[in-house]
C-alpha cells in the first residue's frame, strides 16, 4: 500500500550549487571569491566595533582588514572592511551589516576607490642612511631613530606596503604594525544618507 520506495519515485532534473543557485546539472559551478571593499557609516557609540566584528566572525565571512575612526560628525564613525568572498557572500555580508541597528549606511566601494594603508616598520639602526634611501623609494620617512633602531612610516596601497616590508627585510625588521585599509570613493560621491 505505501507508494514507491525512494529510488523509484518521480525525480526532478535540476540541481543547485552549494550557494543554492540553480545550475546546469552537468556542470560543476562555483563562484570564485573576490575582494570587496565595504564602507559603513555607523553610530559612534561603545560596542559598535565589537558588534560588527562579531557579526563577521559568527557568519564566517573571510575578513581581510577592518578599520574604524570618527568622521566630521561626532555622532558617527566610518568603517572600512575588506572581505574576500564569493559573490553571494559579499551580498550577504552587506545585507547582514545593514541589519545591525547602529549601522546607518553600507556601500561597496568601486575597485578604483582611493585606498590607503599605513605601516610603521622598525628596523635595526646600524645603517641609517641605507634605511632612509629605501624609505624614500616608497615615499616613506623615518619618524624615530635611536642608536639601535629606526622606525619608518609608509602610506599607500597594500601592495606597496607589502613590497616595502619585503625591501626592509635586509635591515633586520624588528616590528611591523599596519592599520589595514581606509578607503573613500573617488569623485563627489559620498555615503551620507541625507545628501
Amino acid at each position: 500500500m505505501p507508494g514507491p520506495a525512494p529510488p523509484e519515485r518521480m525525480r526532478p532534473k535540476g540541481r543547485r550549487n552549494s550557494q543554492g543557485i540553480r545550475v546546469d546539472p552537468e556542470a560543476e559551478v562555483t563562484h570564485e571569491p573576490r575582494q570587496a571593499v565595504l564602507s559603513a557609516l555607523v553610530k559612534h557609540k561603545p560596542g559598535v566595533l565589537s558588534e560588527v566584528s562579531a557579526l563577521f566572525s559568527r557568519r564566517q565571512f573571510n575578513i581581510e582588514s577592518l578599520t574604524v575612526g570618527p568622521t566630521v560628525d561626532s555622532d558617527t564613525a566610518r568603517m572600512t572592511i575588506l572581505i574576500e568572498e564569493p559573490e553571494p557572500g559579499i551580498d550577504q555580508a552587506k545585507k547582514q551589516l545593514r541589519k545591525l541597528v547602529p549601522v546607518i549606511e553600507v556601500t561597496e566601494l568601486d575597485p578604483t576607490a582611493v585606498r590607503r594603508e599605513l605601516a610603521l616598520i622598525k628596523v635595526g639602526g646600524e645603517k641609517p642612511d641605507d634605511v632612509n634611501a629605501v624609505a624614500e623609494m616608497y615615499d616613506g620617512q623615518a619618524v624615530d631613530a635611536s642608536t639601535d633602531s629606526v622606525t619608518v612610516e609608509i602610506t599607500g596601497s597594500k601592495q606597496k606596503i607589502d613590497a616595502a616590508v619585503e625591501a626592509f627585510k635586509q635591515f633586520d625588521v624588528q616590528e611591523v604594525v599596519r592599520t589595514g585599509a581606509a578607503a573613500l570613493e573617488r569623485g563627489p560621491t559620498t555615503l551620507n544618507k541625507h545628501d
Binding site: P2, P4, R11, G47
Partner: protein
C-alpha cells in the same frame, strides 16, 4: 491570578487609588516600568534578584501582572510563547549574572524563530562594571549575537527611552528579541523624565511593500508555471497574513506546503494543503517540494531542516521569495524573484497582479496521488504498547480548532506536529530553530496566560519535561488549566533513533531508565497526575485531564520502539524520504 506582591487584595485596591497611573516618575526604575506600561505590556515573567530589585520595587505600584517563574530559562520561554500567541512582545525579567545567563537560552530561541520578546536584566552598579563584581556578567556582550539589539542603559534620564525603543524594535519588521541591561545605580537614580513613546531607532528601516514591477514579474512566472507550490513559513503567521494566504491559494488553486514554524498558517484540512515539508514532513509535501517548477516561498529562511541538502532542494524551481528581511533573500536558496516586504501586503499585491489562474489540474492531481501513496499512518496493534501517534490524534479529535499545542523537542514534537490537525494560526508553539528541550513546560504557561479562553495542551518528552519540570509549580500557583502529556519512552528518543539508524545502535547516554513517575511528581507539585498505559484508556484519561480545572500531567507510557517517519536524513534529498527503517538503508 498573577501576583503583584503578597499584598492582600483589599489593600492592593487601596494602593491603586493612591498611586494614580500618571504619577510622575521619580527614578530610573519607575521610568522603565512606565515605558512598559506605555507599550501595553500585560505580563512580565521573571525572577527577583539584587540588581533588578529597584525595578521590581517600581513594579509594586504598577498594574502589569508579574508572574514569578521557577527558573529564568522558563521566564524567557514563557515570554516567547506569549509573543507567539498574541503577536506582541512578551516581557521577561532577570537579575544580573546567573539570572541573565539563565535567560539566554530563551532569548536565543526567540531569535532563531523571530518571536517578539523583550528581556530586561539587572546589572551591577556602573562603577563596578568591568571589575568582576559579585553577580556580574557582560550581558550585552553575551546576548548581542542572539538579539536584534542589546542595550546597555547608561543613564537614569534615558533608561525609559531605551526600554521604549527596545520594545518597539522587538515588534517591528521581522520580529525578534531585544534586551536592555539595567545597572542598579541607573534604575535607582533619580529622574523626572518620562520615557518617550515606543519608536524604533532612526537607523531601522522596514520596507512594507514590494516593488510593483517585481511583483508583476513574479506573478507572471507563477501563473505560467506547470507545477507551482506555495511554501508558507512562520513569517506568514507573524505578519498576520494567514487569511490573505488562504484567499490567494484558494483563488489561484495552488497547493500549499508549510514549513514547521508555518504550521497553522494554512488549514491542514483543506484539500490544497499538503501539510509541512522537511526532515520529518509529510511524504507528499516533500514530493511536491522536490518536483515543483515554481516555488512561492513566503516568510521562510530556508532552514536546513526544511531544505535538506541545498543542491537537491526544489532543484527544478524558480523561486519567488517574499520576506520582510532582505538578508534572508538568497541567503540559503537563491531567489529569481525577490520580493521584499510584509507578507500580508505583498500577498495582496500578488493577488492583484496575477494575470490568471495557473492551468495546473494535472499537477494538483499528482499531489493528491502522493497524498494517497504516502499517507501519514502508523501501526496500531489493538494491544499495548501504546502508540504516541494515537494519543496525539485522539487528543486532536477531542478538542476545538483553536486549541494551542506546545511541545518540548524530540520525537514527541514531531508526532505532535504530524498527527494533530492544525487549522488556525498561533496555535502551534514550539522551538524550531534552536530546538530547545525544556521549552514546553514554561511555554505552555506563557501561552495559557496569553490566551486564557483557549485550551492549552503541551506534548512533552520525558527528557524535555525533566529539564524544566520546576515550572509546574508556577502553573499550579497560577491555577493554569493546562494539560501536559508526557510521551514517555524512558529515553531521549530522538537521539536514540539516530543512534539506531546511523550509529549501529550504540545507545550511548540516550536511555533514561531512572525516569521518575511523572503522575506522582505532578501530584507533589499540586497538579493532577494520570498514568496512561493502555490504548483503550486514552480517550477517558484525556477527558479526565481536560475536565480537571488546573494543570494536569498525563504520564503516557508509549512504545519505546516507536520512531519518527517519514524521515529525510540530515543534508539529504527531500524526495528521498524514508517511510520506514528499511528505506534508510536504500539512501
Amino acid at each position: 491570578m498573577s501576583e503583584r506582591a503578597s499584598v492582600p487584595a483589599d489593600e492592593e485596591g487601596d494602593e491603586q487609588t493612591e498611586t494614580s497611573d500618571q504619577a510622575p516618575v521619580t527614578t530610573g526604575a519607575q521610568s522603565v516600568v512606565r515605558a512598559l506600561e506605555n507599550a501595553g505590556a500585560e505580563y512580565i515573567f521573571g525572577v527577583q534578584g539584587g540588581a533588578i530589585m529597584p525595578v521590581y520595587d517600581a513594579l509594586y505600584d504598577s498594574d502589569i501582572n508579574h508572574v514569578t517563574m521557577a527558573h529564568e530559562q522558563g521566564a524567557s520561554h514563557a515570554a516567547d510563547a506569549y509573543g507567539i500567541v498574541t503577536g506582541d512582545p512578551g516581557v521577561c525579567f532577570a537579575t544580573s549574572g546567573p539570572g541573565a545567563t539563565n535567560l539566554v537560552t530563551g532569548i536565543a530561541d526567540a531569535n532563531m524563530d523571530s518571536d517578539p520578546m523583550i528581556a530586561l536584566t539587572g546589572q551591577v552598579p556602573t562603577e563596578f562594571v568591568g571589575n568582576d563584581a559579585f553577580q556580574e556578567t557582560d550581558t550585552v556582550g553575551i546576548t548581542q549575537p542572539v538579539t536584534k539589539e542589546s542595550y546597555f542603559a547608561a543613564d537614569s534620564d534615558t533608561v525609559g527611552d531605551n526600554v521604549s525603543e527596545a520594545f518597539a524594535l522587538a515588534d517591528a519588521g521581522r520580529q525578534g528579541p531585544t534586551l536592555v541591561d539595567l545597572p542598579k545605580d541607573v534604575t535607582q537614580g533619580e529622574t523626572d523624565i518620562e520615557p518617550a513613546a515606543p519608536k524604533t531607532p532612526d537607523t531601522y528601516d522596514v520596507q512594507e511593500e514590494a516593488d510593483d514591477a517585481a511583483v508583476q514579474e513574479a506573478a507572471e512566472a507563477l501563473a505560467a508555471a506547470d507545477r507551482p507550490v506555495i511554501l508558507s513559513g512562520g513569517g506568514v503567521i507573524k505578519a498576520d497574513a494567514s487569511s490573505a494566504l488562504r484567499e490567494f491559494a484558494i483563488e489561484y488553486e495552488i497547493p500549499v506546503i508549510t514549513t514547521m514554524p508555518g504550521i497553522g498558517s494554512f488549514p491542514e484540512d483543506h484539500e490544497l494543503s499538503l501539510e509541512w515539508a522537511g526532515m520529518h514532513g509529510t511524504g507528499y509535501a516533500n514530493m511536491a517540494i522536490s518536483n515543483t517548477d515554481c516555488l512561492l516561498a513566503i516568510g521562510t529562511r530556508f532552514d536546513d531542516r526544511l531544505t535538506g541538502g541545498v543542491d537537491s532542494f526544489a532543484p527544478d524551481a524558480e523561486v519567488i521569495h517574499v520576506d520582510i528581511d532582505p538578508a534572508e533573500i538568497s541567503k540559503n536558496i537563491f531567489a529569481e524573484y525577490p520580493l521584499i516586504g510584509d507578507a500580508r501586503k505583498v500577498l495582496r499585491q500578488l493577488f492583484d497582479a496575477m494575470p490568471r489562474v495557473p492551468d495546473v489540474d494535472e499537477w494538483r492531481e499528482q499531489c493528491q496521488t502522493w497524498k494517497s501513496e504516502y499517507p501519514m499512518t502508523y501501526e496500531t496493534p489493538d494491544d499495548e504498547p501504546l502508540k504516541p501517534q494515537y494519543v496525539v490524534e485522539t487528543f486532536s479529535d477531542l478538542t476545538p480548532d483553536d486549541t494551542i499545542v506546545c511541545t518540548g523537542v524530540g520525537q514527541h514534537q514531531m508526532w505532535a506536529s504530524q498527527f494533530w490537525e492544525y487549522t488556525e494560526p498561533r496555535t502551534w508553539v514550539s522551538s524550531h530553530g534552536l530546538g530547545t528541550m525544556g521549552y514546553g513546560v514554561p511555554a505552555a504557561i506563557g501561552a495559557k496566560l496569553a490566551a486564557p479562553d483557549q485550551e492549552v495542551v503541551c506534548f512533552d518528552g520525558d527528557g524535555s519535561f525533566l529539564m524544566t519540570v520546576q515550572g509546574l509549580s508556577v502553573a499550579v500557583r497560577e491555577q493554569l488549566d493546562i494539560t501536559y502529556v508526557v510521551l514517555n519512552n524512558e529515553a531521549v528518543g530522538m537521539v536514540r533513533q539516530w543512534q539506531d539508524g546511523f550509529y549501529e545502535g550504540r545507545r550511548m547516554a540516550s536511555e533514561y531508565p531512572w525516569i521518575p513517575q511523572f503522575d506522582k511528581l505532578a501530584e507533589a507539585f499540586g497538579a493532577r497526575g494520570f498514568r496512561l498505559e493502555a490504548q483503550e484508556d486514552v480517550e477517558e484519561t484525556i477527558q479526565a485531564a481536560r475536565e480537571y480545572d488546573g494543570p494536569s500531567v498525563i504520564d503516557a507510557h508509549i512504545d519505546p520502539g516507536e520512531n519518527v517517519f517519514p524521515m529525510v536524513p540530515s543534508g539529504g534529498d527531500n524526495g528521498q524520504f524514508a517511510l520506514e527503517e528499511d528505506h534508510l538503508e536504500m539512501l
